[in-house]
């Protein structure tokens, strides 16, 4: 609580996400003062194609910023900086002179570049650009999406080569518009977003000429690569005119930053529909031989960049939704815990939700979901246990892969996201990983991370130590599983994983 004489000072964070745009205003203690949010349309022109209308997104960003300010009752000069976080990899090209998008944004989930990625792999395959970029050739990343647009929008390549077209991920789009658009807008991205384009060299933090040539992307469209925490410019007009725009981080990296994972070996896991686990690996990029991504965690101003390993689990909360919507075994997601707690254990059942193949660390697209170990004894309650355990074991597999790649074990796992409301799941994760699982008091870690970076860039906060001091533990789950039982159960899980592989025939 602020004393009456302390100046009222705040940071506004804009989160341009996959389904909505939000603005959250934070105070000096990192507490939420106001929130505003607006969803945008998901456009599906064909199966597998996902687009966003970038003009609608920019309008929503302006609305939620004004909305959050109005709700908090604070004035624009009390906002000391604006921080940006965003859905990663989503790709947009627009006209420099008018600010008009030349096509809808291609969303990260869009798979239209599958074939193109296979062609780009040539003889080397998926790993062709791994050493330079830390990423396998896959349709998520921006580079192939830019190439697709240049190939498919009539006349675009010529205009791009003449320097009339700008490329950006959503951070660039928001910053360019905030800082004036066609009228002096800053064309910039940050290292974390750039590390997801597949066009940046992880070792030099610059656009990689060889990859640009291989993908046939003209350098003229590219933004400047800045750090994650620096003043890119000031807001040109709107409710926050004159306020410095001072941070940009991809959403998962922002959560890592908001969870104050500033030391090597500190990691966070965000449990939603899917799950993203990132671990700080320090100032050296760690190459992954176990199916993880190497990515930039953050870079504060002129300091050295901090790298991270990333592992994604495709199906976590989605499996609980599946139990609710497809199986009808529960009526709300929270009831999975009630059902699971009605029995002591999984009754011998294991559920591997490889609904669209196995992701990290296996990367087997021929795998499909399996429930193994069924007997007449097994009830829906045992399956509910198996559902929660699936999320916990998949977390364990990623943590194991991180240890193998980096040589660093996780000391504690900081968690956020909707599934942290599930006490049994959090205890399972602590038990299966054999490390404490910790939930912070501010659940909006993504926005908080963007606010923190913007506050560091403008001197609102002195340094990461002050931010660490703001971090509050809301709950901690301590491992209490018998090690012999843990090993036995893990072996059973791994056996069940083996059963999923090779289900699809090769030709399909």
């Amino acid at each position: 609580m602020n004393a009456p004489d302390t100046p009222r000072e705040f940071i506004a964070a804009i989160d341009q996400g996959t389904t909505s745009s939000r603005c959250i205003v934070f105070d000096r203690d990192g507490r939420i003062v106001a929130v505003d949010q607006k969803e945008h349309r998901q456009i599906f022109p064909r199966p597998g194609w996902v687009e966003h209308d970038a003009t609608e997104i920019w309008r929503n960003v302006q609305e939620v910023t004004a909305g959050a300010l109005a709700k908090s009752g604070i004035t624009s000069d009390e906002v000391k900086a604006i921080g940006i976080t965003n859905q990663r990899e989503t790709t947009l090209l627009w006209e420099k002179a008018t600010g008009r998008p030349v096509h809808n944004a291609l969303v990260w989930q869009d798979t239209r570049t599958d074939q193109l990625c296979r062609e780009l792999g040539r003889d080397t395959g998926q790993e062709r650009f791994r050493r330079a970029t830390g990423l396998p050739l896959a349709s998520y990343f921006s580079g192939p999406k830019v190439r697709w647009l240049l190939d498919n929008v009539p006349g675009l390549r010529e205009r791009a080569e003449r320097g009339e077209i700008l490329f950006g991920t959503m951070d660039s789009w928001v910053i360019w518009n905030l800082t004036g658009g066609p009228d002096g807008g800053q064309h910039v991205t940050d290292v974390t977003n750039a590390s997801r384009t597949m066009l940046m060299n992880l070792h030099t933090m610059e656009w990689d000429r060889e990859i640009l040539a291989a993908m046939d992307v003209p350098a003229a469209v590219l933004p400047r690569i800045g750090s994650s925490a620096e003043i890119y410019g000031t807001a040109a007009d709107g409710p926050l005119a004159g306020t410095p725009v001072a941070s940009a981080l991809g959403d998962q990296q922002a959560a890592l930053f908001g969870q104050t994972c500033y030391a090597v070996g500190e990691g966070k896991s965000t449990y939603g529909t899917g799950t993203f686990l990132l671990m700080n690996t320090g100032e050296q990029p760690v190459s992954s031989y176990h199916g993880l991504l190497t990515t930039v965690g953050y870079r504060i101003g002129g300091q050295r960049p901090v790298y991270a390993l990333e592992g994604a689990i495709a199906v976590t909360g989605a499996l609980v939704q599946w139990m609710r919507d497809q199986m009808g075994l529960i009526s709300t997601a929270a009831e999975i815990e009630t059902l699971a707690l009605s029995v002591e254990d999984n009754g011998g059942a294991y559920f591997v939700p490889a609904f669209s193949g196995l992701f990290a660390p296996y990367w087997r697209s021929d795998a499909r979901g399996v429930i193994a170990g069924l007997t007449r004894y097994v009830t829906k309650a045992h399956l509910a246990r198996a559902v929660l355990e699936a999320t916990a074991w998949q977390t364990r597999e990623i943590v194991d892969a991180m240890r193998k790649d980096s040589g660093t074990g996780l000391t504690a796992l900081k968690v956020d996201g909707g599934m942290t409301a599930n006490n049994l799941l959090m205890q399972n994760i602590a038990d299966f990983l054999d490390v404490p699982v910790v939930r912070p008091m501010v659940s909006e870690t993504t926005c908080l991370g963007a606010a923190y970076a913007a506050g560091l860039a403008t001197g609102f906060w002195a340094g990461t130590e002050e931010l660490r001091a703001n971090w509050r533990r809301a709950a901690e789950w301590t491992p209490r599983m018998d090690p012999a039982l843990r090993d036995r159960e893990y072996r059973q899980w791994l056996k069940a994983v083996q059963r999923t592989m090779g289900w699809l025939d090769e030709e399909s």
Binding site: A334, M441, R472, A475
Partner: protein, 259 residues
């Protein structure tokens, strides 16, 4: 055997009739099946319709079971759903009060802790989810006993043991306190459960204004009470307000109207 009420028996028979076999029935079918005059049957149907237990199909004029009856069957609020709804509010409560926050529900004659948020300092704390606390001395237990008739009847069966020197063990005195709890809308405990520990709790209601649980903060008596002045040693009004705000927010989230 105690005297029974005929109209309630008839209403029950009518519901059974609508539940079995043919799902929709006209007024004359119902009257003849039950051996009642049409006017009597119509009176029963209209009353049940007003309560939502029976619905009339607009086109055919026939009667069927109402949606309210289905809701009655599965109306209990899942405690994990309750926790999910309470999560952000109890985080706020812990931050605003500087103390640990709890969410409790009635369970086997005690209070089951279904959610716990740590006190926001860096001290070592242990998650207490799953612990069962006594009804008669804790602030959570007193709130539940004051508002929930089921809790109150369970309390009547329990022995009022002295957990500390300050535990109220006299039943008449405890009943008087429960009346006070209802009057002011919150319950307090000053060292009646743990020596030197105070607690404040307020009730959470669902959309039908049924008490489904209670939220509380708990901390050292020294931090939880007013020092000096006329109110010396009494529970802090600021903390009481924070707990009641939290309870109201969770209730609102569950669909309870303004109160």
């Amino acid at each position: 055997m105690a005297r029974t009420i005929q109209s309630v028996e008839r209403a029950a028979a009518l519901l059974r009739l609508l539940a079995g076999g043919e799902r929709r029935l006209g007024l004359s079918d119902i009257a003849s099946a039950m051996g009642l005059a049409k006017a009597t049957a119509h009176g029963l149907l209209r009353t049940l319709q007003r309560e939502g237990f029976v619905e009339q199909d607009e086109r055919s004029g026939k009667y069927q079971l109402g949606a309210e009856l289905l809701r009655l069957g599965n109306s209990y609020l899942d405690v994990h759903e309750l926790r999910a709804r309470a999560l952000v509010w109890t985080d706020d409560l812990a931050r605003a009060s500087g103390e640990s926050a709890y969410l409790g529900v009635l369970h086997h004659g005690g209070v089951l802790l279904v959610h716990h948020v740590f006190r926001p300092d860096d001290s070592r704390q242990v998650l207490e989810i799953g612990a069962l606390l006594p009804l008669h001395c804790t602030a959570l237990g007193k709130v539940l006993s004051a508002y929930d008739p089921v809790a109150h009847s369970e309390l009547a069966e329990l022995e009022l043991t002295a957990v500390t020197d300050r535990t109220v063990t006299d039943r008449a005195e405890l009943e008087k306190e429960l009346v006070r709890v209802r009057d002011r809308g919150w319950a307090g405990d000053l060292g009646g459960t743990w020596e030197g520990v105070a607690s404040i709790a307020a009730p959470v209601f669902d959309r039908r204004r049924m008490p489904v649980g209670a939220v509380a903060v708990t901390g050292a008596v020294e931090r939880m009470t007013v020092a000096g002045g006329a109110a010396d040693g009494e529970l802090s009004p600021r903390l009481i307000a924070a707990v009641r705000d939290c309870a109201r927010s969770v209730s609102r989230d569950l669909g309870a109207g303004r109160f």
